[in-house]
């Protein structure tokens, strides 16, 4: 088999195991970037419809949350997440999916302790530590009059 060094290099790269870093990162970058772009499209549309920037931004987040929850219901979000990794985790859609997924999965264990409780399995810590951090921040700026 004859090949140029470049071709060999390409083949070797393809065959070598491990180093999923560039591919994983690229996929996370692309898909995460696209989700954020979709968010920006929503913001532009809502602003065009007359909403103020801050309200438009919140409405865009809510729209993304809605879409992510719906796609989680169809089982589509998890399929995208297999490829996208952090690309579907880090945006607010990842938070929405983290609420919807266990809610759906644990429905069989009951509406209260199954669906209702397991909903918070990931969202819980996010909310607990997020609000705790905001309280600490609030105390600091209140005590040092930085507000």
């Amino acid at each position: 088999m004859k090949m140029t060094p470049e071709e060999y290099g390409r083949m070797a790269k393809k065959a070598s195991p491990g180093s999923p870093f560039p591919k994983n990162c690229l996929l996370a970058f692309l898909i995460g970037g696209l989700i954020c772009t979709l968010g920006q499209v929503c913001i532009e549309l809502y602003q065009y419809a007359g909403l103020e920037q801050e309200v438009a931004s919140t409405a865009a987040s809510v729209t993304l949350v809605f879409l992510a929850v719906l796609l989680s219901g169809f089982g589509v979000y998890d399929n995208i997440a297999k490829y996208a990794g952090a690309g579907t985790l880090v945006p607010i859609t990842g938070f929405a999916n983290a609420v919807a997924s266990p809610a759906l999965e644990f429905k069989s264990e009951g509406l209260v302790l199954g669906l209702g409780a397991k909903m918070f399995i990931i969202a819980g810590p996010v909310i607990v530590y997020g609000t705790a951090a905001s309280v600490v921040y609030g105390l600091i700026i209140y005590l040092f009059r930085l507000y």
Binding site: P20, F21, N24, C25, L27, A28, F29, G32, G33, C36, T37, G39, Q40, V41, I43, E44, S57, T58, A60, S61, L64, V65, V69, L70, G73, G75, G85, A86, L89, V90, P91, I92, G94, F95, A96, A98, V99, A100, A103, L104, E105, K107, L115, G116, M119, I121, I122, A123, P125, V126, Y129, G130, A133, S134, V135, Y137, G138, I141, Y142, Y147
Partner: protein
């Protein structure tokens, strides 16, 4: 053209923030739950010191959609509530500003979980 630049900035900044998350997944033992929590807490810190709002100004949804933006929103809400209500704002500001996102996620999830059937994990 201006619209294109706005979208491009959102894509690039949002993409980079997600790629950083992927580095955490691939090269540390952080679980997705810890990464989500870490991003929100980091967002509170970055928002609190005033850095993150500048990124949101630059990249729009590219910075506000990743969970760092959620954290930054908590910090912003606390500051606003303290300005309005004093000490009580320390407790009310965070969740008030995050209410739309959290309530949307909880309510939509409830509806979807009631309607849909869980998929078998393949």
């Amino acid at each position: 053209m201006e619209l294109f630049m706005t979208l491009l900035k959102a894509f690039l900044v949002g993409g980079v923030l997600c790629a950083i998350g992927q580095i955490f997944i691939d090269y540390t033992k952080l679980t997705p739950a810890r990464i989500l929590t870490g991003y929100v807490v980091a967002g509170v810190v970055l928002g609190g010191i005033g850095l993150y709002p500048k990124l949101i100004e630059f990249a729009g949804a590219g910075a506000s959609v990743p969970l760092l933006g959620f954290g930054s929103l908590l910090a912003k809400g606390v500051k606003k509530a303290i300005q309005a209500d004093g000490l009580l704002g320390v407790l009310t500001g965070g969740l008030t500003s995050a209410a739309a996102g959290i309530t949307a996620a909880l309510f939509f999830s409830l509806i979807v979980a009631l309607i849909f059937k869980p998929k078998d994990k393949g």
